[in-house]
Amino acid sequence: MTLTILYFAWVRERIGQAEETVTLPEHVVTVGDLVAWLATRGGGYAEAMAEPERLRAAVDQTFVGLDAAIGNAREVAIFPPVTGG
């Protein structure tokens, strides 16, 4: 299954790109699994995903906890806590 992943703010900066499309391995079920899997890529990925408690996520543009299932989502976004306004 292919999934578009979006990165924002310092997550985007550390990874060095804003968006990519990946094929998920079968063992990646939740957003937390995705974060852990991305971390194994090393380099900027490892740096961006080093502290999962500092990350927030959205699945198909709905904000979720890291324990949320990815299911058949087309888009997952990973980003720091928001700071607008």
């Binding site: 979006l6 924002f8 959205a58 980003f79 720091p80 928001v82 700071t83 607008g84």
Partner: protein, 146 residues
């Protein structure tokens, strides 16, 4: 009566107010957040999550409209680079009576702070850093859930 705008353009307060006042309202409360000029920031850059941002703001405004008797709710948020003294965000709430307008206005900005996907990056001279989320914002948003 809900208006959401996310744009790189400067925020035109007078225009947004005129749109609302044209709707026969009795009371309009507003909140405007600006880039502070006094803490050494040369440039503030706002990143957002296109599509999800507008949906989040729409949802916040809808919830305010369900909670209070509103005639209009407007959320305008600027994105991209901006300079000290410029407006970052404007929220407006209009109602027949002032309490609804005041409370809805506070709700809109409190919820926006925690529930809308924006990220601020400040530049001071050569130093750029992403602004950290504040616990006080989470607390402010949570007081509306009680």
């Amino acid at each position: 009566m809900i208006r959401i705008l996310v744009s790189v353009a400067q925020i035109d307060l007078a225009e947004e107010m005129a749109r609302i006042e044209g709707q026969d309202v009795g009371a309009v409360a507003s909140f405007c957040g600006l880039v502070r000029a006094d803490d050494g920031v040369d440039c503030l850059e706002l990143e957002h999550y296109p599509g999800a941002t507008e949906a989040a703001l729409e949802r916040i405004a809808q919830e305010a409209a369900e909670r209070w008797s509103l005639q209009a709710a407007t959320i305008v948020h600027r994105v991209g680079p901006m300079r000290p003294g410029e407006r970052i965000v404007l929220v407006l709430a209009a109602a027949p009576h002032r309490r609804d307008a005041l409370d809805a206005c506070a709700y809109l900005i409190d919820r926006l702070k925690t529930d809308a996907p924006f990220w601020k990056r400040e530049t001071r001279g050569q130093d750029a850093r992403w602004v950290e989320a504040r616990d006080s914002d989470t607390a402010a948003a949570e007081r509306w859930t009680s």
